[in-house]
Amino acid sequence: MATLYIDNKPYEFEEGRNLLHTCLGLGFDIPHFCWHPALDSVGACRQCAVKLFKDENDCTGTIVMSCMTAARDNMRISIDDKEAHEFRAEVIGFLMANHPHDCPVCDEGGECHLQDMTVLTGHTYREHRFKKRTHRNQDLGPFVHHEMNRCIACYRCVRFYRDYAGGKDLEVFGWHDSVYFGRHESGVLASEFAGNLVEVCPTGVFTDKTFRKHFTRKWDLCSAPSVCVHCSLGCNTIAGQRSGVLRRILNRFSEDVNGYFLCDRGRFGYEFVNGSRRVRTPLAKKGRNQKLEPLDRSAAIKRVAELFSSGRPVIGIGSGRASLESNFALRQLVGPQRFFVAESETQHSITTEIVHALRRTPASRASLRDVAKAGAVLVLGEDVTNTAPLLALAVRQACRTAALTNAHGLGIDPWNDAAIRETGHNVRSSLVVATPTLTKLDDVATTVYHAPPDDISRLGFAIAHALDGSAPAPRGLSPEIEAMARGIARDLAQAARPAVVSGAGSGSASVVEAAAGVAAALYKVNHDACLCMSLSECNSFGCTLLGGRDLTAALDAAERDNAEAVVVLEADLYRNCDPAIAGALLTLPRNVVVIDHTLTATAAMADLVLPAATFAEASGTFVNNEGRFQRFFSAIAPQAGFAPGYRWIAEILSVVGPEAPRWETLDDIVNDMESRVADCAGIRAAAPSASFREGSQKIARQSFRASGRTALLANTSVAESPNPADPDSALAFSPEGIQAPREQPLVARYWAPGINSVQAVSKYHGDPPAALVKGEAGADAAENHGAKAPAAFASHASEWLVMPLHHIFGSEELSMLSPSVASLARSALIVLNPEDAAKLSIRENDAVEVSNYALSCACVAAIASWVTKGSAALSVGRPETQGLDLPEWLWIRKAGAP
């Protein structure tokens, strides 16, 4: 520990950061704009001036920019110094010269870093008597609203968008006192991370366009810590609601997972919660072909409970988008033998393989933070930008590790961003992108290889063999691929903390085996190796821990046991398997019960629909792609019609069997699960229990500034209504309670006295970085468990190997119910090799029909040379391509052709 004297008082601190970062961490307020904890320092805004003294005898001192000065032992500085204070007030005066002072009509008002900083510096009078420069705004697409006049030219937006996230269409134009931040011309921002501009921008230039449509000031939002449901990474979020309408999603800082950022699918996919297809009351059919009609809650429960008295078995189908608690409750209701997961046979084998690989690998299980710090990365088979977007952002940061090392060698501080980027222009860490489809990481990759999944897998096996002679070698590799594999193996072996990244996206278990094999072989020569795999849904990992089997097995069981009923939990079976299997599963049993929040195709087939709560209305736990248990909490208080899945099941259980466990609260289920399922042992530690108090208080979901508490319902009664109770968490639906909790899983909003903007996050210390999580089997598991390299890809005469093509906007179920996300989704696309296209007389944008024996789907053609001849890539998750289990050999023809 080193000592820093601030205004003559000693403070202990850890060296290695700049003065600004250190002082903010110590609880001091220093005004700043261009510095951001993830973007580091460039010293552009001159706002964070402090006085630096040579020693205790120096009473003059010099003004320095605290963000550009390293904090060192025995340093003496003054923040309150009169000159430094005047300097800061002057600078903000300049910055505000052209600002329109339109806070009352600005979406940022009340949570604006510029407001906070202006108040902090004491700049209270407008002295600019001249005309202000004005700009024209651009339409930047459905997510981000643009209002350039509010700009103070801190450059944070381009530093995030261009430098950090690799975007190429947001730039700064002009010079001097007229700089403009925007696109070359109006149009949708192309980066998948554009939504972060909303939080990165310290004022109201970039604001959340979806939030505008149901705007509420920050102090009137009722917020709760949440976890994103739109991919398997489990990014930590803050969900904010008012009057039962989910208004927006913000980032919740997590040292290990998402850091300071979210992807646009995660940020803007939330609107499904307010969607028109929500089920808000129990629905039932009088007969199979009748319509679904509202039903009384207790009658609905009674009807489900009766199914269990028939003596015939009931099949339960859980899913990766339902919480661990709901899945567990279902498993308890139907029994472990009759618990299945809504995944096709292939999907299920891949999910299981991934979970198995992650749990048994001798390498470390990589968090996103580990990936971002990796010295070399091998991406095998996964288009991470479209399946697990924030993982792509982490991989992009990993490309900079060589530049950071280089800068360290030159004596440049690790936070000196401009200097590191300047010296690192031509220094790039090794990144290998070996995927079936083109990816957005190709531009920073040192090696790019696009081939069908089996060939990707073969490359993986070749790399593993090059690293470890005892690993099986694929036969008949071309000399080029062999040389490539050796080169990659060398880079990985020599790198500090190399990472292997793969996932379920390629639809190939063989690719997953290959990636696991590379990680195991790499571990033998480099003990810092780590492995990161993405799964298909937010709780796929958790669902696998509960040990359900796939849908084909479910159908077998339903037929064999003459099932009385099937209970489907938060899943649309038609999205996850062959429509014939889904159809049979939903017609064979005498009764179909669906517990879901949205009226899906599956729910429409049900005899009884129990309305489930979404992540915004329920508390629960998801297990992310690295096996991390993460609790999300309800932002919206329980409402009459619907309830969390586990609550429905608990009520059914209490009627079905008096010997069944009595689950009153979430904690009851969590404790029960921890004692019954060994693999779920970590669940209780995910967050403090409902009995947790800071001091003697719960954590407040609302700001103490929440307005209209008594006036809101004054039309019916002037008496203040009691706050809704929350037996499931340590959070309260009230402005009373702890505003800024210390426990990260309970942070419902970022706020500190004087800091109303999200930048208050700098005042919350992340937990100390956790040690790397090693696989459970340790080094013994390094031996390959019999996996063999597949044969090389060979084209067929009249069929094409159609590989999955993932779209960040369009392939995921729930976000597509959000209008902003849906507006960016294109119709299903098939990408063909130019020669194949010519052979089929298909041109760009032609209508194409793709089919197998049972299904035929219509899509639009695109032609690209990265597609291997004899293969093609087809959009997944689109209604047109539902039911196909890609990769699959399919017929392709121009629509209307014979």
């Binding site: 700009h135 024209r136 190429k168 730039e171 010079w175 403009y180 696109r183 070359h184 011309e185």
Partner: protein
């Protein structure tokens, strides 16, 4: 579409630059030399040639005040407004120049599309202040008379083209 000569000039600049980004100012200058200014279309063409996005290139183009993103006259007059020239009362000459050209301020182009008047922060000719530059020709120790002579000479030189069509027909970039 870039001409063969423009492509050659840009390539030459690329050869001596470490990256496309570094070659961008040269490329913009080369195209401006032949076309007078950088239209949106020229910008997109150069960006494509350098494998950059239009946004990246425009960011560089708009940073340089001598890369013209809107049309200018056939001759660009840079009148120095820096300290030495200010002491030597360039403002008096400015008014004269404006009357002579029939325009009302900096940044404007004469009706015949012949001259555009711009300010310059320093021409490095303090010993001959007040000074101005027309295209690449420097003029010092300016007086009302010398300015008249210079402008008239340019008009005579361009006499044949005085009635030529003004290049001001194309639209300005929205910003």
């Amino acid at each position: 579409m870039l001409t063969q000569e423009e492509r050659a000039a840009i390539s030459e600049g690329c050869d001596s630059s470490p990256s496309a980004r570094a070659a961008a100012p040269h490329a913009l200058g080369a195209v401006q030399a032949s076309r007078g200014w950088i239209s949106d279309e020229s910008l997109s063409d150069i960006a494509e040639f350098l494998h950059m996005t239009p946004a990246e290139l425009d960011s560089i183009a708009t940073f340089y005040n001598r890369i013209y993103r809107s049309p200018v006259g056939r001759h660009v007059i840079l009148l120095c407004d820096s300290v030495s020239c200010w002491i030597m009362d360039y403002e008096y000459l400015l008014n004269h120049l404006l009357t002579k050209l029939g325009i009302s301020g900096f940044g404007e182009t004469t009706k015949d599309g012949m001259f555009t008047l711009l300010p310059s922060a320093c021409l490095g000719a303090c010993d001959h202040a007040p000074a101005m530059m027309v295209d690449r020709e420097l003029f010092g120790d300016l007086t009302r008379q010398s300015i008249d002579t210079i402008i008239d000479q340019y008009r005579i030189k361009d006499g044949d083209r005085r009635t030529a069509q003004s290049p001001l027909a194309t639209g300005r970039k929205e910003q």
